[in-house]
Amino acid sequence: MKVSDLSVARGGVPVLSGVSFALEAGEALVLRGPNGAGKTTLLRCIAGLQAPLTGQIEGAEDRVAYGAHADGLKSMLTVRENLSFWAQVFGNVDIAQALDGYALRPLADRLAGTLSAGQKRRLGLARLLVTGRPIWVLDEPTVSLDADAVALFGSALRGHLTAGGSALMATHIDLGVDARVLDISAYRAAPDAYLGASDAAFL
């Protein structure tokens, strides 16, 4: 996947400009930057949920599995039902690996609504394994996870990378994997940047 000279806006205001990087197969990239720097905005854009102001994103289409701040769980479905739903949507059937990968077997028949914060997050991450998509785009994946669960995530990620996948993650804390780091505060849009944002026409 390759991003070149990307500018993104949030609430009509450009947040980042000139972001360029490439993500090879088997590679992980960690985005860092202070609160409000624009990490979430950038990731949403790469996942195809909002359009960039300028610039190109190549090789991302239909290859991205997005994990947002929210986990997309139905609290009235069991852990197993939640996972198999997403597996079917992405054309897979086997959820055994995902259940094992995040130690969810003992919880498999519990309603997702009754899980603790960290258990929910584990389920949210397990969803990535059933998508079969090569590029993981994750927003603060290890929030609420304890050390063991972070280790599970680490090994799932390593498995994904050795299988030729790649990952782009925003985080403030230690992910337990070593990866290239990109500090996006360097790309902060200048306050007078226009970049064709929706309010630029009025400036």
């Binding site: 003992p106 919880l107 519990r110 309603l111 609504g113 009754t114």
Partner: protein, 244 residues
């Protein structure tokens, strides 16, 4: 030894296993004798013709529909005050039975209404208050099903039952104020104005009423047992998952 010992689920299950055969048998005998006698062994009424036979279903069902709600009210109060699980579960178990009884009263009444009043349905106060009762049953059951935590569900439905009872009484007065109606007044269950044939209808009716009461009891005891078993299964499962 107090009666409260049967508020223990396990004790209740043991007791219910013992009384159930008797209850079911008695209920079957009374219901079938009452209905068969009523259907085959009573004459037609002078004015109502053979439709009077509907009374053996209609009145017992109507009676039990009201009594079931009353029982739920008492059980809810016991749960709120003394927190006996069996009591809460008995209220839960009774609701669908009451709902079906209400439905039977409504349906038989409607079928009866067509020949007698020339309409399936009229907005008569008695009929209307039964419809409102039906709604209360629906809401009560829906609330039980919607709340996940069983104790919370018991609490909430109990309060709903209390508040609902107050509003049901209020509605009864409001409805009476709103429309005077067609339905016969409550009296001793004498079906017709014609006193001379009253006894003929009276005995099978009483049998059917006792039978419906026993059937209600048997169903509630059985269903309470089911609810207890479901709770116990859930409790064991939850503990096992914790152990895992």
């Amino acid at each position: 030894m107090s009666l409260w010992q049967y508020a223990n689920p396990v004790k209740f299950l043991a007791l219910s296993e013992r009384v159930q055969p008797v209850l079911w048998a008695l209920a079957a005998v009374f219901v079938s004798v009452g209905l068969l006698w009523g259907f085959f062994g009573t004459p037609d009424d002078v004015r109502q013709g053979s439709t009077v036979k509907i009374i053996y279903l209609h009145v017992p069902a109507a009676l039990m529909a009201i009594n079931a709600w009353f029982m739920m009210l008492v059980a809810s109060l016991i749960w709120l005050i003394r927190r006996h699980h069996v009591s809460a579960l008995a209220a839960k178990a009774a609701a669908p039975v009451g709902l079906v009884m209400t439905l039977i009263a409504l349906v038989t009444g409607a079928i009866w209404g067509q020949p007698m009043w020339g309409t399936w349905w009229a907005w008569d106060p008695r009929l209307t208050s039964f419809l409102i009762l039906f709604l209360f049953y629906l809401g009560y059951i829906a609330l039980w099903q919607a709340v996940e935590d069983p104790d919370t569900a018991a609490d909430l439905t109990s309060v709903l039952c209390l508040v609902g009872s107050v509003f049901a009484v209020l509605s009864r007065y409001a409805v009476q104020f709103w429309n005077q109606g067609l339905h016969q007044g409550t009296s001793i269950p004498v079906a017709t104005g014609n006193r001379s044939v009253a006894d003929v209808f009276f005995y099978p009716l009483v049998l059917a009423m006792i039978g419906f009461g026993l059937l209600f009891l048997a169903l509630v005891v059985y269903r309470t047992g089911t609810e207890i078993r479901l709770r116990r299964t859930a409790a064991l499962r939850a503990r096992m998952n914790r152990g895992a």
